[in-house]
Amino acid sequence: MTGRVQRVGQAIALAGVATLLGLLVWKVAFDNEEGAADKLAKGELVYAPAFSLDRLDRDGTLSLASLRGKPLVVNFWASWCGPCKDEAPVLQQTYERYRNQGLVVLGVDVKDFREDARRFMRRYGITYPVVYDGKGSTIGRWGIQGYPETFFVDRSGKLVGERIAGAVDIERNREAFERGIALALGDQS
């Protein structure tokens, strides 16, 4: 009887250790998914991760898939973020300047109060589409590390150019911003 109890105890202990080991392996192997930004930085071909989120500029939802075929500037921002205020006029001007070429600037408001975001949009005269991601569901798949961050997507849905971390169109990234727009529009020059 005692031998059987001992064997059962040993089996339970072994099962516990095996479970913990399995969890560790799973965590190491599968839970370190790279965001799109990291793949882009390595020069890999990467498509813009899909999302479908509520709009802030009007009622309803907007999915990235519905914009397939259009060049995009995807900007992750929040109303509490200082540099986001600096770049807001630039993004609005970019939208107005390239709109007739089909370019869409798409704002993704992350981890923010909806009303704060709407107030921000009114204050800076933002008319391009903005979606709301209060829970931050896009962060991991896109590989967002801070705010603001900006990506460029071509008509086929691929990320092009480079990810711009920080406010756009300042001295250090003006060239990258303009090149990203050109690549998104399909201008290889």
Binding site: W80, C81, K111, R114, G134, K135
Partner: protein, 148 residues
């Protein structure tokens, strides 16, 4: 007059009780997490945390309850803003599993202790081991020498 005094005392007691039950901003700040930095609001100075603290104060001043404020923040930022997981649905497991493990551990220790004590008992009640004749002869000789 006595009746009026008693009513006043009752009203004062009720008001004091209500005041004691009302949540303070610091209570809520310790129970909510900054969605950007991952620490509780009372430990964070991140811009979004500061905005959330202001929101909590505004809502408390407007008479909102703790539960209402938490629900509103969960609606904006998701359940990740709660420092403690909710006691419902799948998150209930976070509360139950530690107790289940504790109980399982206690039962396991009990079973092992029972088996161990039983084995010792069996060993104690067994027949005494026979002494080696050579050793017995030497012990007897030593005892005789000691007594003489």
């Amino acid at each position: 007059m006595r009746r009026a005094l008693a009513l006043c005392a009752l009203a004062a007691a009720l008001l004091a009780g209500a005041a004691a039950a009302a949540p303070s901003p610091s209570d809520l700040e310790a129970e909510l997490v900054c969605p950007v930095c991952g620490t509780t609001l009372d430990q964070s100075d991140a811009p979004v945390a500061q905005r959330m603290k202001r929101y909590i104060r505004e809502r408390l001043a407007a008479g909102a309850t703790e539960a209402q404020i938490k629900a509103e923040l969960v609606d904006q930022f998701g359940p990740g803003v709660l420092a403690e997981p909710p006691k419902s649905g799948f998150d209930l497991l976070a509360w139950l599993v530690p107790f289940a493990v504790l109980v399982a551990g206690a039962v396991g220790v009990g079973v092992v202790a029972w088996a161990w004590s039983r084995r010792r008992g069996e060993a104690d009640t067994g027949p005494p081991a026979e002494l080696d004749p050579e050793l017995e002869r030497r012990v007897d000789a030593e005892l005789r020498r000691f007594e003489s």
